[in-house]
Each structure stands twice: as structure tokens, then as C-alpha cells.
Symmetry: C2
Subunit: 120 residues, 2 copies
Amino acid sequence: MAPVDTFAALADPTRRQVLDLLSRRDRAAGELGAAFPSVSQPGMSRHLRVLREAGLVRVREDGRHRLYSLRWEGLAAVDAWLSKYRDFWETELDSLESFLDSKAAEAPPPKHARNRKGRP
Amino acid sequence: MAPVDTFAALADPTRRQVLDLLSRRDRAAGELGAAFPSVSQPGMSRHLRVLREAGLVRVREDGRHRLYSLRWEGLAAVDAWLSKYRDFWETELDSLESFLDSKAAEAPPPKHARNRKGRP
DNA sequence: ACAATATATATCACGACTGTTATGCGTTTG
DNA sequence: CAAACGCATAACAGTCGTGATATATATTGT
């Protein structure tokens, strides 16, 4: 249930960009590979495998092409994980807003320097 | 703008569990370390550094303790990234729903809860 | 059937990350 | 002030993931 593998899959910038491309339209593996000159064909193939195993993309075969498409369930799993924290940070945001509102009229240039101690 | 480092920080299960603990209350570094017997003290210290540098937690010094707390901005960055896809998968969900609705007469219990609203 | 295309897998080198032990620095306590 | 505590950093070994080259498999076209 926990998206254990999913975050690892998302840790790679190339894979996130692949998802970005797939969010617009489905694409063949080669098309995706061509979009990343820095990645070789086998490299892209393995990235796609990781995304597949993480449940983030789906493949269908079209002749000698393999068309990849985004799988919303995969991303929804991340969203579900995130929702555990949503209550928390909305509360925090509310307090921040209250705080800012309370001194809103004072300082136009928000030059907010809170104290910062030893950072080597 | 892209939470490049953030997803890498979230890729580790231990770090995600740390965030989970911090979502309930702030904790000292040692307290967090004690929660993970499989991780040594320096190990936890470095996990905390990664989370710090990813902007996911914040530290304040309290005597000889270092109290860690969750930083909502960090998780909000993930949420922002995810929101790029939210339109997409809601569309997909809608088609799924239409599809299911079209054969809904057969299955009475509509127990699917899809209440996630986008955060503007 | 053969060649070309499209993609996946095998294998290997390397760099990054995780975990461990040892140590340093600041803080509290007796 | 010295000893103990809390935590961070240093240095190092093992592991995992990524990238590259070479090869295997399947499909289309001639």
C-alpha cells in the first residue's frame, strides 16, 4: 500500500521529466529516448522499466513500438501519502497567515531574517 | 523551482518515517535516532542533514538538544509538483467514473471516495 | 528469407549513497 | 573546572543505481 518503490522511482530527474512528457501525450519508448540526448537507448529502456515497476507508467504494444502512458494510480499513491501531511501543513499555513496578517501593515519589504546560529 | 533534491530525500524509507514522526510532534535528534534501532546515531544525524538540506525539516537549538520539526514548505513543494498532474489524472478518473457509471447499475455500493481538491 | 527497425536484457565500470567506528565541539551538571 | 551528555562531522567499506557497449528478440518491409 505504501508507495515504497514509487519515491525511489521519482528520485531521478530524468524519470520525472519522462512523466512530464507522458502527461501531455502517450509516447513510444524511442520517442522518449530521443527527448534525452544525454541518455542512451538502453538507459532509457531501464528508466522506463523502473517507472513501470513503480506503477507510474503503463505500456501497450503497437506493432514494433511500445507506447507508454502515464498511470494516474501511481501518482495518486504519492498524493495519498502526501495527504497524511496535508492537515498538518494547512494548520501551519493558517497560523502563518494569521501571523502575517497580524503584522501585515507594517513592513512592505519582507526582509525576514530570523536568527541563525552555528552552521559550519 | 523543481524540488530536485526533495524527491531524493524522500526516496529513503527511514527518512519518510522520520517525517511521519515529526508530523505528530517535534522531536530531538536523539529521540528520532532511538526510534530506529537499525540506524546508528551518526546515521540518523546524516539522514537529518539530508532532510534539512531538502528543506523538509527545520532545527532549533534547545540547550544541548536539537529539536527537529517538519517544514510544510518542503512538502508543499512536492504537492506543487504533483499538482501539474492533478488535472490529468482527474480527467482520467472522470473517464473511469463515466465508464464505471455506465455499468453502475450492476454494482450497488459506490464506495469510492475521491475528494481530493487541488490546492491553488 | 533477409535486412532494417524498435526495444529489451546482459555485463561491466563508476560514482553516489548508507552504514560503521572514531572523534570533535558545544552544553549542562556536579 | 572536569566529566558526562547530545549531536555533528570525518574517514572508510560495502552496496546500489546509473550510464555505456554489446547482444538478443520481435516486428515490418522488400
